[in-house]
Symmetry: C2
Subunit: 322 residues, 2 copies
């Protein structure tokens, strides 16, 4: 199958149609009409087989995750997703694989009304690079530099589940009896199909918070906020939101160091000024977004982790790509 | 060197600064302010080592070419380049290699005032994916579907040089005595450092032409215009613009089939209605852009090649990526 046949069969006629896409796939460029008065938020992420997902991952999950982690960057800016370009390198033009890939991709694209506007298909080691664009009000964007001393630190959802999923797939670890098959599926799903907190991000623009999505581990990512804002942070480890699956996996003795340094959570970590916390929490609750207070922004630098008011000394700080 | 050190050293503080980049590298997303009244033209191209450039290509040339072929897509739409995202996969974090890569990249980015607004650095087989955005007036864009029966077909510059460059590098071919070292350097340069016809593209928006950049070979690419416009094309092979180097390489007997099916020319092929040809040629000449009439748009479909008024029957139609 030629590159052009692939484009026609899989990429050209996806379901999401948007009025701001004047010209889609099939010319030298896509032509897009951005809304007036809004700023564009743009992000690029590459996922490589064996690095960003286990080689055994299904085509559907690879696509879902690729789009999810890119949308997660838009979420961390508070942007409304709009367009995506898909550059994919494939060892060969396996039609069944591509059909499954596009099922996973389209499922998430349709959920967030993201139009596939272009891309490139090349032969090579399996690798996916997406470029996503969303819209945001420049003054309300959730910049990392927005944190101020005294702000409260929150995290959406639960953390640590994806790292268990990865452990289960790669290391085939022994698990306690209380860790059921359902828990196992849940953790693997959290790894392969992270839910990008796009709605949460947009809701948070009301409060001009600093936000980041947790991709390299809570501690390392919160540290990015600290650096950008010239502040420090204290995290109260015992407050970290965890799932029943995680507690079962660790037999109620969570390995906190692993949980805050393992990546792939794709939850939002954000700060909020004290006077807006009640309003923010009420808005999040009414949208069914679990939101947990985990610490406070302080003067200084770096992320300090406390447990029962004692300072913990963790060494590893996050995933390093080299 | 960590991913973050790489970003700080090589990607964060490039020279091109644009007022429409509100937030550059260093947050979850870049924030961009598009000009009102203009449409965005967006394109993505991936270049893989050993597929899109010989493995022996220098880091500087790889970067230059990667940006050039992406800007060439903007040129083929008549768009003014503005922003670029760079996703690069590297086997290891070789600092010298990256420094050379960014020299080649910045050279071209500075020439066309393109701001590097984001990207991703990953470990993997050498591969570069760029996403470029430019601005164009939607009504004046050089869409492939703009060609009409009776239009005249043109090409900028000369074609076939890059394919000689590739032959020289990969096959170490014997060349005639008249093919000097200067000619050799010229052809290799045409392969490694194609000049994107960005200025030509923008000038052509005055004439609402159909255009495409020649990446897969003149015949295959002109055929894309034919398909999109529901027309056919006749190309008069003897009129194809060639360099002195090419004539020397072929001992004045050019292999036309190879020349029109080899890719990597990155010149523009475009159509122009007869009544605008004089004005268009005069504008191109005053901007020192070599522009040659090579044929005519006809009814029907497909590209027919004539030589001395006889129909030629070439089989191969272009580079197929699978």
């Amino acid at each position: 199958m030629s590159e052009f046949d692939l484009i026609n069969q899989f990429f050209k006629n996806t379901k999401v149609k948007r009025d701001d896409v004047l010209l889609g796939i099939g010319d030298d460029c896509a032509m897009l009409s951005p809304p007036s008065g809004k700023t564009l938020a743009v992000s690029t992420d590459t996922l490589i087989s064996g690095v960003h997902f286990p080689e055994s991952t299904s085509a559907e999950d690879i696509a879902y995750k690729s789009l999810a982690v890119n949308l997660s960057d838009l979420a961390a800016m508070g942007a409304e997703p709009a367009w995506v370009s898909l550059a994919i390198s494939l060892p060969d033009s396996n039609v069944e694989w591509l059909a499954a890939f596009m099922r996973g991709f389209n499922e998430l694209a349709e959920r967030f009304n993201v139009a596939l506007i272009g891309g490139d298909t090349t032969q090579g080691a399996l690798s996916i690079t997406l470029n996503v664009t969303g819209f945001v009000d420049a003054k309300l964007a959730l910049k990392r530099a927005n944190a101020k001393v005294g702000d409260i630190i929150f995290v959406t959802g639960t953390i640590g589940d994806a790292s268990i999923g990865l452990d289960l797939i790669l290391n085939n670890v022994n698990t306690p009896d209380v860790f059921t098959g359902d828990y196992k599926s849940y953790c693997i799903d959290r790894l392969n199909r992270p839910y990008p907190q796009v709605i949460a991000g947009q809701l948070l623009t009301e409060f001009v918070v600093a936000a980041i999505d947790i991709s390299d581990g809570l501690k390392a990512d919160l540290n990015h906020i600290c650096k950008a804002s010239n502040v420090g942070a204290i995290v109260n480890i015992e407050n970290l939101p965890t799932s029943d699956a995680l507690l079962a996996f660790y037999n109620n003795k969570p390995d906190w160091q692993n949980i805050i340094t393992a990546g792939d959570d794709y939850e939002l970590c954000f700060t909020c000024s004290k006077d807006k916390v009640t309003e923010m929490l009420s808005l999040m609750e009414s949208n069914n977004i679990k939101t947990t207070c985990i610490g406070e922004v302080v003067s200084g630098s770096g992320v300090k982790c406390m447990f029962d008011n004692e300072l913990l000394n963790f060494e590893q700080t996050g995933y390093n790509h080299f």
